[in-house]
């Protein structure tokens, strides 16, 4: 047997991990690593429409960011959305999980129903809420006008001060159940003995939650926050469907801005630069969070 045949045999035998990893590595290279590298390269270039080619522009794209007000607006919108949604969904998710964490009749069905929102594509959810918040026939508009919060002159999604709230509603509806499911799984895996001990120690429900449940759930909460946080930071679909970023820049997120620069204005290099900023920011935030949360992963 030749040495070459030997080597081949080694490759396909179970002793080498490479054949098993190869498809994954190929996918990673094609769909993640190459686009990332290309994106970095692109951020130092720009498409010249009249010459129909990409030309190097040095640091122009990066320095342009500094004086681009719309870019800074989109950063502020993204951060507002990101932090508000994380807080609301963690708090609401935990509250609902605690309520549903019970063996009462019907709760099993309720838990199953919760998963339904997760299978709907976000763009469809966006369409649903566009209708719900429609100024003419939206049910939410109708209710809010009835109770006197709206007076018919400021449509929810077309008013600067309420448009982002209108979009957030869709996000809360769709993604709070995700938090509920994760938290409920966490709650169910907790040991029962500390709770019995706490009961005998005289703890009230709130004291038990504060001193025992929350610390025990730390890891679960951290994982949920991380997954959801990364997702929230690149939010795109709801704004794209519901407001296109408007009115003004009130719902313009980083992802939406990068998309607009790339595909509407054909500024490929600038779009790439914005999306790179988004990537860098989320990496920093995620790692800071892991550091601060002190969770041992």
């Amino acid at each position: 047997m030749t040495a070459r045949a030997n080597r081949l045999r080694w490759l396909v035998s179970g002793e080498s991990a490479f054949p098993w990893l190869a498809p994954l590595i190929a996918m990673l290279v094609v769909f993640t690593i190459y686009p990332l590298v290309y994106n970095v390269w692109l951020s130092f270039h720009e498409y010249a429409p009249f010459k129909r080619r990409v030309e190097p522009v040095g640091l122009d794209n990066w320095s342009a960011l500094l004086s681009d007000d719309r870019f800074w607006d989109s950063i502020s919108v993204t951060f507002t959305y990101f932090s508000a949604m994380l807080i609301v969904q963690v708090v609401l998710g935990m509250a609902i999980a605690l309520l549903l964490d019970s063996e009462q009749r019907g709760f099993g069905l309720l838990r199953a129903l919760l998963t339904l929102t997760l299978v709907i594509p976000p763009a469809i959810t966006g369409m649903m809420f566009l209708l719900i918040e429609d100024p003419e026939f939206g049910v939410l508009t109708w209710i809010l006008e009835r109770v006197g919060i709206l007076d018919g002159t400021n449509p929810i999604l077309a008013t600067g001060s309420t448009a982002l709230l209108g979009v957030m509603l869709a996000d809360v509806w769709q993604w709070t159940p995700f938090m509920v499911l994760i938290f409920m799984a966490g709650l169910r895996s907790l040991p029962s003995e500390p709770y019995e001990a706490a009961m005998l120690d005289g703890a009230t429900s709130w004291q038990t939650f504060r001193r025992i449940t929350l610390p025990l759930m730390g890891k679960v909460i951290a994982v949920a926050v991380l997954i959801r946080g990364i997702d929230l930071f690149r939010i795109f679909d709801y704004m794209f469907v519901m407001t296109s970023g408007g009115p003004g820049t009130s719902t313009y997120t980083l992802s939406l801005y990068a998309w607009q620069q790339t595909f509407s204005f054909i500024k490929w290099g600038y779009g790439a630069t914005i999306s790179l900023v988004s990537l860098i920011l989320i990496l920093i935030i995620a790692n800071l969070f892991i550091l601060v949360s002190k969770v041992r992963w």
Partner: protein, 355 residues
Amino acid sequence: MASVEYQGLVKNFGSIEVIRDLSLTVEEGEFVVLLGASGCGKTTLLRMTAGLEEISGGDLFIGGKRMNEVHPRDRNIAMVFQNYALYPTMKVFENIAFSLQISKVRASEVRRRVEEAAAILNLSEYLDRYPRELSGGQRQRVAMGRAMVRNAQVFLFDEPLSNLDAKLRAHMRVEIRQLHGRLGTTTIYVTHDQIEAMTMADKIVLMREGQIEQVGTPDDLFDSPRTRFAADFIGSPSMNFLEGSIEESDGHAYFRSPGLRLSVPDKMAENNSVTAGLRPTDLVIEDSGPLVGDVILSEKTGADVNLHVRTESGPIIVTVSKEMSVLAGDNIRLTINPEKLHLFDNPNGVSLRSN
């Protein structure tokens, strides 16, 4: 401190009755051990006392007050669990201090009481550790510390020593007894280990299938078991049982079994089916003894030797001092003081002797 009283207590899990019409009084300051095989309902009884299990029927009184529907946190009871049930995310100090902190005791007072308990339990240097960084014995002591710092009316222990090794168990038995001596708190202690029960209890409650088999001091249960079950459960090695009958001749009662005739001290009616119980320690090797057998195995336990003897009436175990130098294969004769002979009616197993 408070007394605990059960009146006709019942507990059902679905259609299964695990506690049946149980009545018992634990006096103020008493150390009572609930003893029984696993599944006899002793832990359920303890958890009902704590309020962790609902009471299906009957009444529970603590300190004279009916407690059936009172929430566990309002019963002022401290409990030490089998697997300790420490708070995993709190350090030892917080674990012990928790009950005080949530009841808004002043921080300086909390510190004083926790440190005092830690000193008694040899935990002072571990206050800054998490439970996962402690050994089993240390965790056990933290669980006790948690009970100690509270001025609870009643202490409940649920097989607290079963996860410890033999040596530590013996040590902790003494510590728990000393703790009781110091605090004098009414204590109910659950165990399946008859040695724990014998060494620690003021009063043993022997349970069987959800009912009380016998209540008494350790000596009562050892010397005067009221049933064959009680006789069999207490003592190690277990009591020897020989099947036979009671016969009367010339105004005297005798226990008769193949190759054996033992006189019975009490007046007793003839009975053709009884079981005689002989404790291994009550049998004495004597050349004129009525019970003859061959030693088939000799087990050394240190100071004593357990001889496994085959007799015409059945196999028995005899505990003798190791100085006796009896070997396997020897033929021996045994005698027993008639006063130490236990007799049980068949098949109900009730003692025939009115001790």
